[in-house]
Symmetry: none
DNA sequence: AATGAATGAGTATTCATTCAT
DNA sequence: TATGAATGAATACTCATTCAT
């Protein structure tokens, strides 16, 4: 292989660098993060760092995309449940709350990286393109899961599944956003309750509505 | 007084500077925005620019806060409607969709400014503190409006008004976020539909549910 | 007169400004001293400050020259004693030790002002010219006083009075210099003893040598 | 190693930078010296310049200390003479006049650097501390040399060797000071004569007194 | 491939000086 | 004259990126 045994494979190095980047950002902010520091923390030289990432912006774009890919793994794991359509939809929603739980602590750095990366046209295009596709795909998965429930008679057949799916995604994004500066209020439980409240609008699944934790008690 | 008549009062200068800052950012990104350019575009000298804003970070924090204050004016105007509790809640929701409509075009710069400003501990504290308070206050206003409808019998009395209010805010935040990179899908109409879907969970106001535009038709 | 009664005469303002300049320098160093601060401390506007001094360098050159003029007043007062030539020479030497006592605390700022002022050709010329004349004149006064003692038979007639006078001045300068960073060792008493040691070389005035405090006892 | 052969070792670079700093100062004054110019003249990049000196003030403090270290080398060379105590003291005094000869041309820049460096508390401390130690050590060396002569019977045993040593140092400082603005009068010969005049006060070494050049003839 | 010394473009900020009132 | 807001030139320093070894 093309790896130096004592330093780990390229994939290992790459992920050491990404981790280091995140840690340095937590200390110094994204703007203030120095490539020297990242390289030192990842135990590679600057030359090696630049073999993996073309530029500082490239590196931080990668940390953002990495977060999303991690969230994808979380969702996929949660969705892998077997069962009836409603159960599978619930698995999906569990996955989304899991994403909030997993990413909340990193949202501060995440948004900083975004702000810095989005400032450069070339990277903005790549970032926005990625986000656009990511959200559209997640939306479609949720929409399809809702449709499955509709077909199974669990939800009103005339409801706009796509619109509900966008609502679900918006709730997740809104809670992630809020988690950046108000971790107290933006909890996975709160998000789950919001999901349930929204889905109750899909009635007549009264049984499901009953599960709507926080929303049930004034 | 403290102003030179031909150049406008201090308040006018200040807002000229903020506008200029926004425009320069749209061209060059927040990181890439140069204070020289901002000053030139605002037709003030750099010395004067620094009389109003202590630093570049201070200036961009101000643009963020300004956006929120503008959104507040939009909400307040929309909420000033007279009528029964339900009508007043709808006014409030109209205000929130108005916020999306007004701020969407600026969200790119807004998040960039955030990312850059939040990188400095001192400014992060000020920014996060402001956002925390802002969202909490808006949440309370919405919660109170929901409670008024509950008291008037328009919504189920046992629903958790505060949780629903947080859901409303999260939807707004989520749509604003999405608008940054996918203006097509994050529309005021979509947001309004999501609000309605969420509120339908507050039933039994069947009449209201009927108004839930997009969510009604697959 | 041309003065505004409530603010004092021009001469008073001028000296308020010079005092303020010195005080600000003690706080912030000469480079770091801001004209704003000086003006504020002197209770005049910047415009007025610039009526008295053409520039910052001009102001600090003035503080230097002022110090020398003050030292001149000290010397003149001490020299105004009546009596025989030896007594008058001793008065002069007392004056010089008085200069050390008076200026020592200010030497730090004094040298700083020098360093900054001497950096500009135009001001360097004025400063160096002033210093050159000042030292030459003081040297001549001392030389003449020594010659008077020589004529009166108090000192050897064949000694080079001018050279001894330069030695006296060099001792004063050397002690002033040392006082800048080592106030402990550069005392007026030490200077007086050095004067006496030097003059003893002018013998055969054994009586005078007896007065040479510190130099007499190992 | 850490040096690129064609550009010289680190020590060589360092001294190239110090020389360049001095030359730039001679042209533009210390305040007016630009780091870009210094780097260019030393044929290193600004980044490299800053690898050797943390800041402009650090660089100029180094030029000052370097001057003193050079004077130390001059003194040590002159003191390395063999012979009786009197001859060794004379060697020391020759060394001191050599310091005047060597440093006189640089005193203008030297005092400027001092003035600028002493304006910053942090650097003032370092500079003053260095000067204090330097002068104290030189003083002790001279004192010891005088004592050796006393023991050998060349000087009066009851004279205060330490006080005479301080006088010697003060004369050197005074002549260096004067050389800054009046090179004509502050000559090594004048200094030597002043030393001799002072030492004559240490009598009864009549033979030595006879060597007191300028001081002997009106 | 790896290293890390060298490079030098790039900019926020200050503050002496001016001048309209 | 007095004021103090406005001006804008001027520069130390950083740090992403390169490239000789």
């Amino acid at each position: 292989m093309a790896s130096t045994p004592q330093d780990g494979s390229d994939a290992v190095k790459r992920s050491r660098i990404l981790e280091a980047a995140l840690e340095v950002c937590e200390r110094s902010g994204v703007e203030g993060a120095r490539m020297d520091e990242v390289a030192a923390l990842a135990r590679v030289s600057k030359g090696t760092l630049y073999r993996f990432f073309d530029s500082k912006h490239d590196l931080f774009l990668a940390t953002i995309i990495d977060s999303y890919e991690e969230s994808l793994r979380i969702i996929d794991t949660a969705t892998a449940v077997e069962g009836d359509p409603l159960r599978r939809l619930e698995g999906l929603l569990d996955g989304l709350t899991g994403v909030l739980a997993a990413l909340a602590p990193r949202m501060g750095v995440h948004y900083q990286a975004w702000g810095v990366v989005a400032g450069h046209p070339q990277f903005q295009e790549r970032l926005y393109g990625f986000l656009c596709r990511f959200h559209a795909q997640r939306g479609e998965e949720i929409r399809d899961a809702i449709r499955d429930v509709q077909r199974a008679g669990g939800f009103r057949a005339d409801a706009d599944a796509a619109a509900f799916a966008e609502g679900i995604m918006a709730l997740l994004s809104g809670f992630l956003y809020r988690a950046t500066f108000d971790r107290e209020r933006a909890t996975p439980e709160g998000l789950r309750a919001a999901f349930d409240a929204l889905l109750r609008g899909l009635g007549p699944d009264a049984a499901h509505a009953g599960a709507a934790g926080g929303y049930g008690h004034g």
